[in-house]
């Protein structure tokens, strides 16, 4: 993975120095809250319901075990002993004190971490496939270009006061685990007919208030032109994105209002002017960064036999949570942070320390964060999986529910977030408990439930096979049910089924939908397939009795 050189370190250290200064000026009164707020947001520090919340960047969801240990330390020293992994592959802490934030950032900087641009109207964390560098069939490791984007976008002077936040996702596999078409810019790394590696660029996707699937803006972009093209897109957005209404300020609105072709023409015209300005890195720099993502020294003699364990629970976990690796004898293991009844995406400091140890022992010190709020050990020997599983099980981290109905994405919701209208975590917990029977979960198969506590959609409800949106209905929590969304390469937006429900009602409605699927499915159909084949009608009838 990427290692800071002295330049990277100097940049992060300078930022800590700057923020320490800004906090001191705030506490002395030299800065008002109005002046200070955007500055602290640029360092990911929000004022939330209970205290300050800090969002720490985990660039393209990749962590070293050393960094995971630091996250555990942060949880203990500065917070209440736990952290929350987010749908953008970052981590959040909910109980931070402003006066301690500069020391916290200094601790992070000591392990090449930061909270730069995790909030504010700037380019945010670049997200990608959690199996990058491990999964078979990948065109090229998407983290290489994610790191290149990270550097280009960090403290970009022209794009630090955009109309609104800006999110970029990168993918390099036939399967899209990064939901690229639901981002402001989605980049697909591909090979052309001549065998060259380049990019397919989508612009204008997003969830939230007005969900949209990004149209294709550029079918082919060579590596040599990548950053200058990104710069052109951002400049068009900076100049023409709406600033009169914050709910219409994302680039998806600009693309939609202009139309994809007119928007493309603007970008191409701008690009013609900026492509000669020396923005693009040269091949040597691209190769230098790529070298950091060279595969670890896999053991060529690692046994390829399917691992076994006396306990049948291991077999379930192996079949559900373990994905094929490109190197023979290895596997990708997903650590579920969705134990039944637990808070989705939360991990205690003790669990983090354990995962760091396991990464050291079994995964070349490499840990990933998924946008579904789970963790991954990407390079585990098949032969080590049984002992790994035993260690995970002891720590409550071995739920064999990857992509099953128990693997729910839930935003923090009204329990933590000032923007929320309803709680989402208790709904997730109740659904997980209702479907706690693992035989039942396995029988239902792939079923992605995603819950947001407000229209901003941080729980990705528009991309849920079953999506739930919490709203405030005259002071009482109410939940809307949506069906048929997907954030994968078959991107679609979930559609609302009918009137909303209270907290008990929504869980019953989900169960009714699930049972309807079971009754009507054809062999091999996932819930999403049955829904797409039949449409909403049978589900609507079952839930609302019409």
């Amino acid at each position: 993975m990427y290692q800071y050189d002295r330049f990277d370190q100097a940049i992060v250290d300078a930022r800590v120095d700057e923020f320490r200064d800004q906090v001191a000026r705030r506490l002395s009164g030299a800065l008002t809250e109005e002046q200070f707020r955007p500055l602290r947001l640029l360092n990911g520090l929000y004022l939330q319901l209970h205290a300050y919340m800090l969002r720490i960047a985990i660039p393209y969801g990749t962590l070293s075990s050393r960094q995971v240990r630091m996250l555990a330390h942060i949880a203990r020293r500065y917070d209440r002993g736990y952290g929350h992994f987010t749908t953008r592959q970052n981590i959040q802490y909910n109980w931070i004190k402003l006066e301690e934030a500069p020391d916290l950032l200094a601790d992070l900087a000591s392990v090449e971490m930061h909270a730069i641009q995790t909030s504010g109207n700037v380019i945010r964390n670049i997200t990608t496939d959690q199996y990058a560098g491990a999964v078979a069939g990948e065109v090229e490791d998407p983290r290489i270009w994610s790191e290149i984007l990270r550097q280009w976008s960090t403290f970009h002077p022209e794009f630090s006061f955009l109309p609104r936040k800006f999110k970029i996702a990168v993918n390099a596999s036939a399967q899209d685990r990064a939901a690229i078409r639901l981002h402001d810019i989605g980049v697909e790394i591909e090979r052309n007919d001549a065998g060259e590696v380049g990019f397919r660029v989508y612009v204008g996707g997003g969830m939230g208030r007005t969900p949209m699937i990004a149209p294709l803006i550029r079918p082919w972009l060579p590596k040599a032109d990548f950053l200058s093209y990104m710069e052109a897109i951002l400049r068009v957005y900076n100049r023409y994105g709406r600033r009169d209404n914050m709910y219409k300020a994302r680039i998806k609105i600009l693309v939609h209002e202009l139309g994809a072709q007119a928007f493309t023409d603007e970008v191409e015209a701008e690009w013609a002017k900026v492509k000669t300005r020396g923005i693009d890195i040269d091949e040597a720099e691209a190769a230098r960064i790529a070298a950091y993502f060279a595969p670890p020294p896999f053991d060529a003699a690692a046994p390829v036999a399917t691992p076994t364990h006396a306990d049948p629970a291991f077999g379930h976990w192996f079949r559900q949570n373990v994905t094929a690796h490109k190197a023979p004898g290895y596997a990708i293991a997903t650590i579920s942070l969705k134990a039944t009844g637990e808070i989705p995406g939360d991990a205690s400091a003790d669990q983090m320390d354990l995962i760091a140890d396991l990464a050291d022992r079994y995964s070349f010190r490499d840990v990933r964060v998924t946008h579904a709020q789970n963790l991954v050990l990407p390079h585990v020997k098949l032969a080590d999986l049984p002992t790994l599983w035993e260690a995970l099980r002891e720590a409550g981290l071995a739920s064999a529910n990857l992509d099953l109905i128990g693997d729910i994405i839930a935003c923090p919701g009204l329990d933590y977030c000032t923007l929320a209208n309803a709680r989402s975590i208790p709904i997730a917990q109740t659904i997980a408990e209702r479907f706690a029977d693992m035989d039942r979960q396995r029988d239902l198969g792939e079923l992605k439930v995603k819950i947001s506590g407000c229209i901003n959609g941080c729980g990705h409800h528009h991309a849920g096979h079953i999506g739930i949106l919490g709203v405030d209905r005259k002071g009482v929590e109410n939940y809307q049910l949506l069906l048929g969304g997907s954030g994968a390469e078959d991107t679609s937006l979930a559609q609302i089924l009918g009137p909303g429900f209270d907290a008990d009602g929504i869980v019953n409605a989900v169960e009714t939908v699930v049972e309807t699927y079971k009754a009507k499915r054809h062999d091999g159909e996932r819930f999403l397939d049955t829904y797409r084949r039949l449409g909403a009608a049978p589900f609507k009838e079952a839930v609302y009795g019409q």
Binding site: R26, L27, L47, I96, L98, L414, D415, E477
Partner: protein, 86 residues
Amino acid sequence: MPFVLKANDLRNGEVRYWTGSAWSPVVGQGQQFATDAEAIAAPAPRAGVIDVYAIAVDAGQPATLRERINAIGPTVRPDLARPTGA
């Protein structure tokens, strides 16, 4: 319904309620005013606090779910619950 003046502590972000003489973390100790305007006009020092506004209370406890959660803590972490003086 009466109102209590609420803010967040600048240094640590924790919620605070104006008791009439101090900013307290316990909502039940909040001084009650007949209207939100009166609560906001109370001579509570603004130094060291941010995001000051008035919340409706019912029998001294917050009237809305959001403000109840703000006063107590996340409903999913009862181990982190704070006293409300109820």
